[in-house]
Amino acid sequence: MQDIAHDILIQASKGDVDSFELIYKAAAGFVYNVAFRVIGNRQDAEEITQEVFLVIYHKLKYFRFQASFKTWIYRITMNRAINRYKKNLRERGGMVEYDETVCPVIVPHEIENKINQEQCEDTVISLLKSLNPDQKACIVLRNIEGLSYQEIAEALKININTVRSRLKRARESLIALGKEVVKNEL
């Protein structure tokens, strides 16, 4: 996520829509992609993005800058995305529909690269599908968004050692899944 200048935040907290648009431009990519990776569905990711930014707009005037603004956005996004994922899971009897079609921003011009990219997306979707929501959140924030352990701990309001243990368990199950896939292919 891009850094956001302090005076932009101040202006936006006073209700300035143009300043708020700058915040949106800096953070929307993060919010949308994290929501999509956690929920696995574009329509829900769009709704969550809209919800997150409306919450930010309304609560920005109460934000006292004691915590990092980025951490605050991470936390709102993760809460909303995980809750939506769990709600979908409950409503659909434990089955969540994933969008298999992906349209990444970096579209390679060469067909070979495009095929590789599509294969890579399929792999990412199937790997994330195999994880529980808490593990998925840690993997998305660490491996896709590149947050540090400390930032993940603050975003999810958990201890840094819990981040370690969730990542370890997630990766152990991903390695086991990889072995299973290879075994089945043979």
Binding site: T49, Q50, Y57, V105, E121, T123, V124, I144, K168, I175
Partner: protein, 165 residues
């Protein structure tokens, strides 16, 4: 450190570049002499790190910002008497109703409540007077009854009565 502990560290801090100093040195020295752990590291990199680093990123559709902006502007254009917070939500539930039927309903409600109170007051007074009347009647009846006195001689003066008593 044994291989199990090293592999645990590989799966977390080492793979994520969060390890520094002596611990990192210790893991790297172990990797130099342990083929199994080196293989584990390579496998972990390929399986759990590389697929995610090559994952695509989407640009959020433009209509999302359009909707957010629309929602913010609509909120700003709300009338000045709007009350913030939960009261606003409460009011917004009634905002769909036009004012005239609401005023009519309120007047009707006040009228019905007034009648109910009036009816209740008059009924209570009537019941009280009826009860009073009944008490007075009972008292008068009791006083007027000839066999009411306990000292008076009772009975019909028959032979059987005399025999038993």
């Amino acid at each position: 450190m044994n291989c199990e502990k090293i592999q645990e560290l590989i799966l977390t801090d080492y793979l994520d570049g969060q390890m520094q100093g002596k611990q990192k040195e210790c893991v790297e020295q172990h990797l130099l002499r342990c083929f199994r752990c080196r293989e584990f590291l390579e496998h972990a990199r390929k399986t759990v790190v590389e697929p995610f680093t090559r994952a695509g990123r989407d640009i959020p559709p433009e209509f999302i910002w359009a909707r957010i902006r629309e929602s913010i502007i609509a909120e700003k254009e709300r009338p000045a008497y709007a009350v913030p917070g939960f009261l606003e939500k409460l009011i917004s539930r009634f905002r769909v109703l036009s004012p005239y039927p609401v005023i009519g309903t309120v007047i009707m409600a006040i009228f019905i409540i007034g009648i109910a109170i009036q009816f209740k007051t008059s009924t209570t007074a009537r019941v009280k007077s009826e009860v009073q009347e009944q008490i007075e009647y009972l008292v008068s009846v009791t006083e007027m009854t000839p066999g009411n006195s306990m000292n008076e001689k009772t009975g019909f003066g028959t032979v059987i009565e005399e025999y038993f008593l």
